[in-house]
Amino acid sequence: MPRDAGGSTYNRSTAEEVPLALRPTLSPARPLAVDRSAGRLFEAFQRVPVIAVIRRAEDLPRALASRVPAIFFLRAPAFHLGPLVWAVQARGKMAFVHIDLIAGLGKDRAGVAFLAREIGVNGIVTSHGHLVAAARSDRVIAVQRLLLHDDLGLASALSAVERARPDIIEVLPGVIFPEIVAQLRERLTIPMIVGGFIRDETGKAAALLAGARAITTSTPELWP
Protein backbone atom coordinates (compact mmCIF):
# COMPACT_ATOMS: atom_id res chain seq x y z
CA MET A 1 0.00 0.00 0.00
CA PRO A 2 1.56 3.34 -0.98
CA ARG A 3 2.08 6.02 1.60
CA ASP A 4 0.23 9.26 0.94
CA ALA A 5 1.55 12.71 1.77
CA GLY A 6 -0.15 12.79 5.16
CA GLY A 7 1.29 9.48 6.33
CA SER A 8 -0.26 6.06 6.04
CA THR A 9 -3.97 5.92 5.41
CA TYR A 10 -3.80 2.43 6.87
CA ASN A 11 -2.77 3.64 10.31
CA ARG A 12 -5.75 5.94 10.68
CA SER A 13 -8.44 3.70 9.33
CA THR A 14 -7.68 0.39 11.07
CA ALA A 15 -7.68 1.83 14.56
CA GLU A 16 -11.40 2.37 14.07
CA GLU A 17 -12.13 -0.76 12.05
CA VAL A 18 -10.60 -3.33 14.38
CA PRO A 19 -13.38 -5.07 16.29
CA LEU A 20 -13.35 -4.33 20.02
CA ALA A 21 -12.51 -7.92 20.85
CA LEU A 22 -9.32 -7.63 18.85
CA ARG A 23 -8.29 -4.29 20.29
CA PRO A 24 -5.40 -4.46 22.69
CA THR A 25 -5.94 -2.90 26.08
CA LEU A 26 -3.33 -0.23 25.52
CA SER A 27 -3.41 2.75 23.23
CA PRO A 28 -2.88 1.70 19.63
CA ALA A 29 -0.62 4.67 18.96
CA ARG A 30 2.31 3.79 16.78
CA PRO A 31 5.69 4.27 18.49
CA LEU A 32 8.04 6.83 17.01
CA ALA A 33 11.10 4.57 16.95
CA VAL A 34 11.36 0.81 16.53
CA ASP A 35 14.22 -1.14 18.09
CA ARG A 36 15.64 -3.45 15.45
CA SER A 37 18.74 -4.64 17.24
CA ALA A 38 19.05 -8.42 17.42
CA GLY A 39 21.82 -7.91 19.98
CA ARG A 40 19.43 -6.32 22.46
CA LEU A 41 17.02 -9.20 21.96
CA PHE A 42 19.78 -11.70 22.83
CA GLU A 43 20.54 -9.70 25.99
CA ALA A 44 16.87 -9.92 26.94
CA PHE A 45 16.92 -13.70 26.33
CA GLN A 46 19.51 -14.00 29.11
CA ARG A 47 16.83 -12.83 31.53
CA VAL A 48 13.77 -14.46 29.94
CA PRO A 49 14.53 -17.00 27.18
CA VAL A 50 10.96 -17.28 25.92
CA ILE A 51 9.09 -15.84 22.93
CA ALA A 52 5.29 -15.92 23.07
CA VAL A 53 3.65 -17.15 19.87
CA ILE A 54 0.17 -15.69 19.33
CA ARG A 55 -2.18 -17.93 17.40
CA ARG A 56 -5.40 -16.27 18.47
CA ALA A 57 -6.04 -12.65 19.42
CA GLU A 58 -7.50 -13.80 22.77
CA ASP A 59 -4.02 -14.87 23.88
CA LEU A 60 -2.46 -11.46 23.36
CA PRO A 61 -3.40 -9.80 26.69
CA ARG A 62 -1.74 -12.61 28.62
CA ALA A 63 1.42 -12.35 26.51
CA LEU A 64 1.48 -8.58 26.99
CA ALA A 65 1.25 -9.02 30.75
CA SER A 66 4.06 -11.59 30.80
CA ARG A 67 7.80 -10.92 30.93
CA VAL A 68 8.59 -12.31 27.46
CA PRO A 69 10.87 -9.95 25.52
CA ALA A 70 9.30 -10.70 22.15
CA ILE A 71 6.04 -11.84 20.58
CA PHE A 72 5.56 -13.70 17.30
CA PHE A 73 2.25 -13.22 15.48
CA LEU A 74 1.11 -16.22 13.48
CA ARG A 75 -1.92 -16.25 11.20
CA ALA A 76 -2.87 -12.73 12.15
CA PRO A 77 -4.92 -10.55 9.78
CA ALA A 78 -2.31 -8.58 7.83
CA PHE A 79 -4.30 -5.42 7.38
CA HIS A 80 -5.41 -5.19 11.00
CA LEU A 81 -2.03 -5.83 12.56
CA GLY A 82 -1.01 -2.29 13.39
CA PRO A 83 -2.67 -1.81 16.79
CA LEU A 84 -1.62 -5.30 17.90
CA VAL A 85 2.03 -4.69 17.01
CA TRP A 86 2.07 -1.23 18.61
CA ALA A 87 0.57 -2.56 21.83
CA VAL A 88 3.44 -5.06 22.02
CA GLN A 89 5.99 -2.32 21.43
CA ALA A 90 4.34 -0.06 24.01
CA ARG A 91 5.18 -2.76 26.56
CA GLY A 92 8.85 -2.65 25.62
CA LYS A 93 8.65 -5.95 23.75
CA MET A 94 9.61 -6.71 20.18
CA ALA A 95 6.90 -7.69 17.70
CA PHE A 96 7.60 -10.18 14.91
CA VAL A 97 5.19 -11.19 12.20
CA HIS A 98 5.22 -14.57 10.50
CA ILE A 99 4.90 -13.40 6.92
CA ASP A 100 4.48 -16.91 5.43
CA LEU A 101 1.27 -17.48 7.38
CA ILE A 102 -0.31 -14.04 7.14
CA ALA A 103 -3.42 -14.14 4.97
CA GLY A 104 -3.77 -11.46 2.36
CA LEU A 105 -0.16 -10.32 2.31
CA GLY A 106 2.15 -11.08 -0.61
CA LYS A 107 5.13 -13.25 0.21
CA ASP A 108 7.43 -10.84 -1.55
CA ARG A 109 9.47 -7.66 -1.10
CA ALA A 110 6.38 -5.47 -1.10
CA GLY A 111 4.87 -7.59 1.66
CA VAL A 112 8.00 -7.24 3.78
CA ALA A 113 8.16 -3.51 3.07
CA PHE A 114 4.55 -3.11 4.20
CA LEU A 115 5.29 -4.81 7.52
CA ALA A 116 8.53 -2.87 7.97
CA ARG A 117 7.39 0.61 6.96
CA GLU A 118 3.61 0.78 7.38
CA ILE A 119 3.18 -1.44 10.42
CA GLY A 120 6.67 -0.89 11.83
CA VAL A 121 7.40 -4.43 13.03
CA ASN A 122 10.68 -5.19 14.81
CA GLY A 123 11.22 -8.24 12.65
CA ILE A 124 9.75 -10.91 10.44
CA VAL A 125 9.71 -14.70 10.59
CA THR A 126 9.89 -16.68 7.34
CA SER A 127 11.10 -19.92 5.82
CA HIS A 128 12.11 -18.20 2.60
CA GLY A 129 15.60 -16.95 1.85
CA HIS A 130 14.45 -14.22 -0.50
CA LEU A 131 12.28 -12.71 2.24
CA VAL A 132 15.29 -12.72 4.59
CA ALA A 133 17.10 -10.64 1.97
CA ALA A 134 14.11 -8.30 1.76
CA ALA A 135 14.08 -7.96 5.55
CA ARG A 136 17.76 -7.06 5.51
CA SER A 137 17.27 -4.33 2.96
CA ASP A 138 14.36 -2.97 5.02
CA ARG A 139 16.52 -3.24 8.16
CA VAL A 140 14.17 -5.39 10.20
CA ILE A 141 15.35 -8.42 12.18
CA ALA A 142 15.07 -11.59 10.10
CA VAL A 143 14.20 -14.90 11.73
CA GLN A 144 14.49 -17.80 9.29
CA ARG A 145 12.74 -21.06 10.09
CA LEU A 146 14.73 -24.25 9.67
CA LEU A 147 12.09 -26.93 9.19
CA LEU A 148 13.41 -30.35 10.08
CA HIS A 149 11.00 -33.06 8.98
CA ASP A 150 13.43 -35.55 7.49
CA ASP A 151 17.10 -36.08 6.67
CA LEU A 152 16.26 -35.67 3.01
CA GLY A 153 15.65 -31.96 3.28
CA LEU A 154 18.36 -31.21 5.84
CA ALA A 155 21.29 -30.53 3.51
CA SER A 156 19.34 -28.20 1.24
CA ALA A 157 17.71 -26.46 4.22
CA LEU A 158 21.15 -25.81 5.73
CA SER A 159 22.49 -24.43 2.45
CA ALA A 160 19.45 -22.17 2.13
CA VAL A 161 20.01 -20.74 5.60
CA GLU A 162 23.74 -20.29 4.98
CA ARG A 163 23.02 -18.36 1.81
CA ALA A 164 20.30 -16.19 3.33
CA ARG A 165 22.26 -15.28 6.52
CA PRO A 166 19.32 -14.37 8.80
CA ASP A 167 19.90 -12.73 12.20
CA ILE A 168 18.28 -15.66 13.99
CA ILE A 169 17.40 -19.24 13.04
CA GLU A 170 14.27 -20.84 14.45
CA VAL A 171 14.69 -24.63 14.48
CA LEU A 172 11.50 -26.73 14.39
CA PRO A 173 10.22 -29.03 15.84
CA GLY A 174 11.73 -28.71 19.31
CA VAL A 175 12.10 -32.43 19.89
CA ILE A 176 14.65 -32.68 17.06
CA PHE A 177 16.93 -29.89 18.29
CA PRO A 178 18.94 -31.78 20.96
CA GLU A 179 19.42 -34.60 18.42
CA ILE A 180 20.82 -32.42 15.74
CA VAL A 181 22.37 -29.40 17.40
CA ALA A 182 25.95 -30.67 17.03
CA GLN A 183 25.44 -31.18 13.30
CA LEU A 184 23.92 -27.69 12.97
CA ARG A 185 26.79 -26.05 14.84
CA GLU A 186 29.34 -27.56 12.45
CA ARG A 187 27.78 -25.53 9.67
CA LEU A 188 26.12 -22.53 11.30
CA THR A 189 27.29 -19.79 13.63
CA ILE A 190 23.98 -17.91 13.54
CA PRO A 191 22.18 -17.80 16.94
CA MET A 192 19.40 -20.38 17.20
CA ILE A 193 16.03 -20.36 18.88
CA VAL A 194 13.81 -23.43 19.02
CA GLY A 195 10.07 -23.93 18.59
CA GLY A 196 7.40 -26.44 17.69
CA PHE A 197 5.51 -28.60 20.20
CA ILE A 198 7.30 -27.15 23.22
CA ARG A 199 4.38 -27.41 25.60
CA ASP A 200 5.89 -28.02 29.03
CA GLU A 201 8.87 -27.19 31.23
CA THR A 202 10.63 -30.42 30.23
CA GLY A 203 10.60 -29.53 26.53
CA LYS A 204 11.68 -25.99 27.33
CA ALA A 205 14.55 -27.13 29.55
CA ALA A 206 15.76 -29.67 26.96
CA ALA A 207 15.97 -27.03 24.23
CA LEU A 208 17.73 -24.47 26.43
CA LEU A 209 20.15 -27.07 27.77
CA ALA A 210 21.03 -28.05 24.20
CA GLY A 211 22.02 -24.47 23.50
CA ALA A 212 18.96 -22.61 22.23
CA ARG A 213 19.07 -18.87 23.00
CA ALA A 214 15.32 -18.98 23.57
CA ILE A 215 12.25 -21.06 22.88
CA THR A 216 9.12 -20.02 21.01
CA THR A 217 5.83 -21.36 22.34
CA SER A 218 2.10 -20.76 22.03
CA THR A 219 1.49 -22.39 25.42
CA PRO A 220 0.65 -19.49 27.79
CA GLU A 221 1.72 -21.51 30.86
CA LEU A 222 5.31 -21.22 29.59
CA TRP A 223 5.23 -17.44 29.35
CA PRO A 224 6.90 -16.23 32.56
Partner: protein
Protein backbone atom coordinates in the same frame (compact mmCIF):
# COMPACT_ATOMS: atom_id res chain seq x y z
CA UNK B 1 -9.60 -50.87 -0.39
CA UNK B 2 -8.62 -53.69 -2.71
CA UNK B 3 -4.92 -54.41 -2.48
CA UNK B 4 -3.19 -57.10 -4.44
CA UNK B 5 0.37 -56.71 -3.24
CA UNK B 6 1.99 -57.41 0.10
CA UNK B 7 1.72 -54.84 2.89
CA UNK B 8 4.28 -54.07 5.54
CA UNK B 9 4.64 -57.07 7.81
CA UNK B 10 7.09 -55.73 10.35
CA UNK B 11 7.47 -52.62 12.40
CA UNK B 12 10.60 -51.18 10.83
CA UNK B 13 10.59 -49.93 7.28
CA UNK B 14 14.10 -49.53 5.84
CA UNK B 15 14.28 -46.29 3.83
CA UNK B 16 16.53 -46.93 0.83
CA UNK B 17 17.89 -44.67 -1.87
CA UNK B 18 19.51 -46.94 -4.48
CA UNK B 19 19.93 -50.55 -5.61
CA UNK B 20 22.78 -51.06 -3.16
CA UNK B 21 20.85 -50.03 -0.05
CA UNK B 22 17.85 -52.01 -1.35
CA UNK B 23 19.99 -55.16 -1.53
CA UNK B 24 21.35 -54.41 1.93
CA UNK B 25 17.86 -54.21 3.44
CA UNK B 26 16.66 -57.33 1.64
CA UNK B 27 19.86 -59.12 2.69
CA UNK B 28 18.91 -58.46 6.32
CA UNK B 29 15.63 -60.25 5.71
CA UNK B 30 13.25 -57.31 5.37
CA UNK B 31 10.12 -57.94 3.33
CA UNK B 32 9.15 -54.27 3.05
CA UNK B 33 11.06 -51.15 2.05
CA UNK B 34 10.47 -47.47 1.44
CA UNK B 35 12.18 -45.88 -1.54
CA UNK B 36 12.79 -42.51 0.06
CA UNK B 37 14.89 -40.72 -2.55
CA UNK B 38 17.28 -41.29 -5.41
CA UNK B 39 16.46 -42.06 -9.02
CA UNK B 40 13.71 -44.64 -9.23
CA UNK B 41 14.41 -45.04 -12.93
CA UNK B 42 18.02 -46.08 -12.25
CA UNK B 43 16.85 -49.06 -10.18
CA UNK B 44 13.78 -50.22 -12.07
CA UNK B 45 15.18 -53.72 -12.53
CA UNK B 46 16.00 -54.21 -8.84
CA UNK B 47 12.59 -52.89 -7.80
CA UNK B 48 10.67 -55.07 -10.24
CA UNK B 49 12.61 -58.14 -9.10
CA UNK B 50 11.94 -57.38 -5.44
CA UNK B 51 8.23 -56.73 -6.06
CA UNK B 52 8.02 -59.99 -7.99
CA UNK B 53 9.41 -61.76 -4.92
CA UNK B 54 6.59 -60.32 -2.84
CA UNK B 55 8.51 -57.48 -1.21
CA UNK B 56 6.21 -54.59 -0.29
CA UNK B 57 7.64 -51.45 -1.83
CA UNK B 58 6.51 -47.98 -0.90
CA UNK B 59 7.71 -44.99 -2.91
CA UNK B 60 8.05 -41.47 -1.55
CA UNK B 61 6.72 -39.53 -4.53
CA UNK B 62 8.03 -36.24 -3.10
CA UNK B 63 11.55 -37.58 -2.70
CA UNK B 64 12.39 -39.77 -5.69
CA UNK B 65 13.74 -38.32 -8.89
CA UNK B 66 12.77 -39.24 -12.40
CA UNK B 67 8.98 -39.38 -12.08
CA UNK B 68 6.42 -36.74 -12.93
CA UNK B 69 3.70 -36.24 -10.30
CA UNK B 70 0.98 -37.48 -12.64
CA UNK B 71 -1.24 -40.42 -13.56
CA UNK B 72 1.18 -41.86 -16.10
CA UNK B 73 3.85 -42.23 -13.42
CA UNK B 74 1.33 -43.78 -10.99
CA UNK B 75 0.16 -46.25 -13.64
CA UNK B 76 3.77 -47.25 -14.25
CA UNK B 77 4.38 -47.83 -10.53
CA UNK B 78 1.18 -49.79 -10.04
CA UNK B 79 1.01 -51.93 -13.16
CA UNK B 80 4.59 -52.26 -14.43
CA UNK B 81 6.51 -52.30 -11.17
CA UNK B 82 3.71 -53.72 -8.98
CA UNK B 83 4.72 -51.57 -6.05
CA UNK B 84 2.50 -51.60 -2.96
CA UNK B 85 1.99 -47.97 -2.19
CA UNK B 86 3.07 -44.36 -2.37
CA UNK B 87 3.90 -41.67 0.18
CA UNK B 88 3.28 -37.98 -0.44
CA UNK B 89 2.21 -34.75 1.24
CA UNK B 90 0.03 -33.95 -1.79
CA UNK B 91 -3.64 -34.89 -1.38
CA UNK B 92 -4.40 -34.71 -5.11
CA UNK B 93 -1.63 -37.09 -5.99
CA UNK B 94 -2.80 -39.56 -3.34
CA UNK B 95 -6.36 -39.36 -4.62
CA UNK B 96 -5.07 -40.31 -8.05
CA UNK B 97 -2.94 -43.08 -6.59
CA UNK B 98 -5.91 -44.74 -4.90
CA UNK B 99 -7.53 -45.10 -8.35
CA UNK B 100 -4.58 -47.29 -9.33
CA UNK B 101 -5.15 -49.46 -6.26
CA UNK B 102 -1.97 -48.22 -4.66
CA UNK B 103 -1.90 -47.93 -0.89
CA UNK B 104 -1.78 -44.25 -0.02
CA UNK B 105 0.33 -42.92 2.80
CA UNK B 106 -0.19 -39.26 3.49
CA UNK B 107 2.85 -37.55 4.95
CA UNK B 108 2.20 -34.79 7.44
CA UNK B 109 4.90 -32.45 8.67
CA UNK B 110 4.74 -32.12 12.43
CA UNK B 111 6.76 -28.93 12.90
CA UNK B 112 4.50 -26.88 15.14
CA UNK B 113 0.85 -26.85 16.10
CA UNK B 114 -0.20 -24.48 13.32
CA UNK B 115 1.58 -26.54 10.67
CA UNK B 116 0.07 -29.74 12.04
CA UNK B 117 -3.44 -28.28 11.81
CA UNK B 118 -2.83 -27.41 8.17
CA UNK B 119 -1.58 -30.92 7.47
CA UNK B 120 -4.50 -32.56 9.23
CA UNK B 121 -7.02 -30.45 7.35
CA UNK B 122 -5.57 -31.74 4.08
CA UNK B 123 -6.08 -35.44 4.82
CA UNK B 124 -7.59 -37.10 1.77
CA UNK B 125 -10.96 -38.75 1.29
CA UNK B 126 -11.20 -41.71 1.05
CA UNK B 127 -9.09 -42.10 4.16
CA UNK B 128 -5.44 -42.89 3.48
CA UNK B 129 -4.01 -46.33 4.22
CA UNK B 130 -1.69 -44.66 6.71
CA UNK B 131 -0.57 -41.25 7.90
CA UNK B 132 3.18 -40.71 8.06
CA UNK B 133 4.30 -38.20 10.66
CA UNK B 134 7.59 -36.42 9.90
CA UNK B 135 9.80 -36.21 11.88
CA UNK B 136 9.10 -39.52 13.57
CA UNK B 137 10.24 -38.24 16.96
CA UNK B 138 7.22 -35.93 17.02
CA UNK B 139 4.82 -38.92 17.02
CA UNK B 140 4.52 -39.07 20.83
CA UNK B 141 3.60 -35.38 20.91
CA UNK B 142 1.06 -35.34 18.11
CA UNK B 143 -0.52 -38.80 18.04
CA UNK B 144 -3.48 -37.82 20.17
CA UNK B 145 -4.32 -34.85 17.93
CA UNK B 146 -4.02 -36.93 14.77
CA UNK B 147 -6.27 -39.61 16.25
CA UNK B 148 -8.98 -37.02 16.84
CA UNK B 149 -9.14 -36.44 13.10
CA UNK B 150 -8.43 -39.83 11.62
CA UNK B 151 -7.97 -43.41 12.75
CA UNK B 152 -5.66 -44.56 9.95
CA UNK B 153 -2.46 -46.33 10.95
CA UNK B 154 0.33 -43.99 12.01
CA UNK B 155 3.81 -44.24 10.56
CA UNK B 156 6.81 -42.32 11.83
CA UNK B 157 9.34 -41.19 9.21
CA UNK B 158 12.41 -39.00 9.30
CA UNK B 159 15.38 -38.46 11.63
CA UNK B 160 15.41 -41.89 13.26
CA UNK B 161 19.06 -42.38 14.13
CA UNK B 162 19.03 -45.18 16.65
CA UNK B 163 17.09 -48.33 17.39
CA UNK B 164 16.22 -46.79 20.75
CA UNK B 165 14.47 -43.86 19.04
CA UNK B 166 12.64 -46.24 16.71
CA UNK B 167 11.36 -48.19 19.72
CA UNK B 168 10.20 -44.98 21.40
CA UNK B 169 8.13 -44.07 18.37
CA UNK B 170 6.60 -47.55 18.14
CA UNK B 171 5.89 -47.57 21.87
CA UNK B 172 4.06 -44.26 21.48
CA UNK B 173 1.60 -45.93 19.10
CA UNK B 174 3.08 -45.83 15.61
CA UNK B 175 2.60 -49.07 13.67
CA UNK B 176 5.55 -48.54 11.37
CA UNK B 177 8.71 -46.52 11.73
CA UNK B 178 11.17 -45.91 8.92
CA UNK B 179 14.88 -45.27 9.12
CA UNK B 180 17.53 -44.64 6.50
CA UNK B 181 20.31 -46.04 8.68
CA UNK B 182 21.55 -49.59 8.11
CA UNK B 183 22.71 -49.87 11.75
CA UNK B 184 19.11 -49.34 12.83
CA UNK B 185 17.94 -51.97 10.31
CA UNK B 186 20.36 -54.50 11.78
CA UNK B 187 19.01 -53.91 15.24
CA UNK B 188 15.47 -54.67 14.13
CA UNK B 189 16.44 -57.60 11.98
CA UNK B 190 13.38 -59.83 11.61
Amino acid sequence: MAVRTAGPSGTLLPAVKDAHSLEQALGLGYRQILLERGSLLAMVGALATAAHRGIAIFVNLDGVEGLAPDSAALAFLATDLMISGVVSVKPNLLRDASRFRLRTVQRIHALDSVGLETGLSSIVRPAPYAIAIAPALAVPQVLELVRQVNDAAIWGTGFIRSAEQARQVLAAGAEVVSSARPDVWSDFRP
